[in-house]
Symmetry: C2
DNA sequence: CGCTGGATTGAGTCCGGTCAAGCCTTGTGG
DNA sequence: CCACAAGGCTTGACCGGACTCAATCCAGCG
């Protein structure tokens, strides 16, 4: 059910999902399937409809950095140039809306869409910068705590699902799976979180989690 | 002297500096002076005219991450929201063009400017992501080599100036000044670079430098 | 020429990585 | 429905690269 307040809010700041509704092509991807590869022609944007997507860069010797995780309503493919600068893969079963860049050009002059894209790009930059501080200057336990806090805040519920593997988390945080596992153990011993399964947790003490994330 | 080719190029892809020429207010800052602080209202963009600027984030306990260095022709202040999310400081003597965001709105519809801003934002995102890979997954020597390579490529000349201190470099790379110093020493012993002074170097073997940067 | 602050160098420590073993969950096939 | 296999996760022991602390060097500047 949609309230009047919701309608006003939507009118003031329509989301990308709303603006792009009905546009583009719906595509499905299985767990670990690639949506696009680094080097592929970047002729489309992808709006995540459901599931989780990771973007990654692989170095010659196999080292991997996860640049980001994307959930429903988030946009992938904001890149300069005509080739993708990283790979995007489905973390679990994923549905996306693929929108050709050329199709967007047809909207030129749509102020609401322009504005939403501009905001999304700036938001994306802000996230990359936060991520940089995390990886550049925080300890292993701070990184893991920060990651869990972010995820819990994005989700909202008391039980938080971890769609990604330990390897994904480690490569996102610039750590190893062993270190991630140990830090999770520590946070649990400190009764800050509780791992109800290895892909699901709940926050026991929010203040302590925020403090641990520094 | 401006050739016909230059004019055509400028017409095809005018730079931000060209588009904003004559706009805004020229400001000067002394070494280490702040252009704006984290938390300040973000009502302007700043186009660097001369000198070098660093953007930084400081954590509660004094740890610092340098998010980026900006040189002549580059734009600072692409941020969502109305408050700056980091501090910008002059690395050496700096001149900038301060342009009110509201003044830019007056240009709405200027397709060339819109396009240039959009490109700048995407370029900035790409740089942040490269930086993330550097800090998240590269060794100390790779980080330093990569930094020197980037700087040398941006500069062009055989002699490259380092406007920033070792502390700035360390905080950009997620290392300590001692480690930066040691890695510089190693690169010099390997005859890949030559430090003509501690703020100036030249590349001896480009292939080796690129290789060391992985 | 001496002062001062940044840069270098050295010695020792520690956090996170590596290697290895074992556990637990999930899924599959008898 | 259970046995088993396989892959992901955890745990432990040890190692090493980068950090810390400290002494010294050196360049720029008054």
């Amino acid at each position: 059910m949609t309230s009047l307040a919701d309608i006003r809010l939507a009118a003031a700041q329509p989301t990308l999902a709303q603006l792009l509704e009905g546009q583009g092509v719906r595509l499905s991807f299985a767990k670990d399937e690639a949506i696009f590869f680094e080097g592929d022609g970047a002729d489309s944007f992808y709006l995540v409809v459901s599931g989780a997507v990771r973007t990654t860069r692989i170095l010659g010797d196999g080292r991997r950095q996860v640049l980001g995780f994307y959930f429903a309503g988030e946009l992938i493919g904001l890149e300069p140039g005509k080739a993708h600068r990283f790979t995007a893969e489905a973390v679990d079963a994923v549905e996306v809306l693929a929108i050709r860049r050329s199709a967007l050009k047809a909207f030129a002059g749509d102020a609401a869409l322009d504005r939403a894209l501009w905001e999304a790009a700036q938001q994306e930059l802000a996230r990359a910068q936060e991520h940089l501080v995390l990886v550049g200057r925080m300890t292993a336990s701070e990184r893991v705590a920060h990651f869990l806090k972010d995820l819990a805040e994005r989700t909202g519920g008391p039980q938080v699902q971890l769609p990604m593997s330990r390897q994904d988390m480690a490569d996102y945080l610039g750590l190893t799976i062993e270190t991630v596992s140990r830090m999770l153990g520590q946070l649990q011993s400190a009764e800050i979180i509780r791992l109800t399964s290895c892909r699901r947790f709940s926050v026991q003490r929010w203040d302590a989690l925020r403090h641990a994330a520094a």
